[in-house]
Symmetry: C2
Subunit: 207 residues, 2 copies
């Protein structure tokens, strides 16, 4: 089934698959939050666990042998459904919806809840690094030129609270196979963490 | 309920809570993996979603108003149950079990599956950054001296495959409220990503 990661889906296929699997993923995100925050008693937890195990068994009746990888729409658009940051089929992803401005900047408004906690009430510094790595990598890449992180530096100006957040990134310059990008995460009071990184086109993508 | 984050639990309380909630969390981790990889048909997904929503409702009957924060055992041990990297009650956490060597080094063996994917078949670079931020922060802190990330730099030597992985970190020097730490992630072939960072004691913890 790993070869299915290279299949070309029609736009209709994509819509059909989305309508089946996205509501499921959203339900699992709710369950993750409830699992972390619950104070239900042992009997309620036992009953919930039985339902969860039953759901897992139903889903595993037919499944990919490995992770999702990339799917492609016939026109070439990449569908990173399993991606841990933006994957609409990955319950671990918030997911970020990354917007591309005509100026070349990318940005996202998103919400991080209990599942992303580090210091009490605050986003884990590693989650901020994960979000920034994704945003910088996204702006450093385009369809013809995928680029992966070579080095990234994240500076934490203050703790990032759980709740509604904003992230943005832009390319400051390119040098052949390298792109230099910067970005930040902000809450409603302003920037909490900023990053700079160099992103490199992998050898297989250099024609 | 947020005040409950400061309660002191007895060792018996901790064991009782662990026996109720850890099996639940493990089941939800399995469900996350199944949700990403499933190719079940629409009817099976609808049935699974109904069970998941029912489980969520059972768990939400009694829950914390916010995220988990820290719990403390009566003897002072910190229990970061909700932590996104090490939290045994957070289904998003792999979770890492961090070992402290007498030498001062910390290390962890862990497994990253489909939920942590970036490039097809590989760990998202941001997940590597998250793991490294946690490991360096853990080794830079101790019970009397919590330290949070000031700046961290991650260098990617090659792509990290999904599967069994190892991470380690150590402090190279301290300067007053600052600790300088280094660390890496490795697969069975060797190091895939390395990090260095400065970790700073927050003002409230000084004196």
């Amino acid at each position: 089934m790993l070869d299915s990661t290279r299949e070309n889906l029609s736009a209709d296929d994509v819509e059909r698959l989305r309508s089946i699997y996205e509501p499921l993923t959203k339900s699992v995100r709710e369950l993750i939050d409830a699992t972390i925050r619950t104070e239900a008693d042992a009997d309620a937890v036992t009953a919930a666990k039985a339902e969860i195990d039953s759901a897992t068994a139903r889903l595993r009746v037919r499944q990919l042998d490995g992770p999702v990888g990339l799917r492609f729409i016939a026109e070439g658009e990449r569908m990173p459904w399993g991606n841990v940051v933006v994957g609409t089929r990955n319950p671990v992803a918030p997911p970020l919806v990354v917007n591309h401005d005509p100026s070349g900047q990318v940005w996202a408004n998103f919400h991080l809840g209990a599942a992303y906690e580090g210091p009490p009430g605050h986003v884990h510094g590693g989650v901020s690094a994960m979000v920034l790595d994704h945003m910088l990598g996204e702006v450093a890449s385009d369809f013809d030129n995928p680029r992966f992180t070579g080095t990234i530096t994240v500076r934490y100006l203050r703790a990032t609270p759980l709740g509604p957040l904003h992230a943005a990134a832009e390319v400051v310059r390119t040098e052949g196979v390298k792109a230099f990008a910067v970005g930040h995460i902000a809450d409603k009071e302003g920037i909490t963490a900023e990053a700079e990184g160099v992103f490199i086109m992998p050898r297989w993508a250099r024609s």
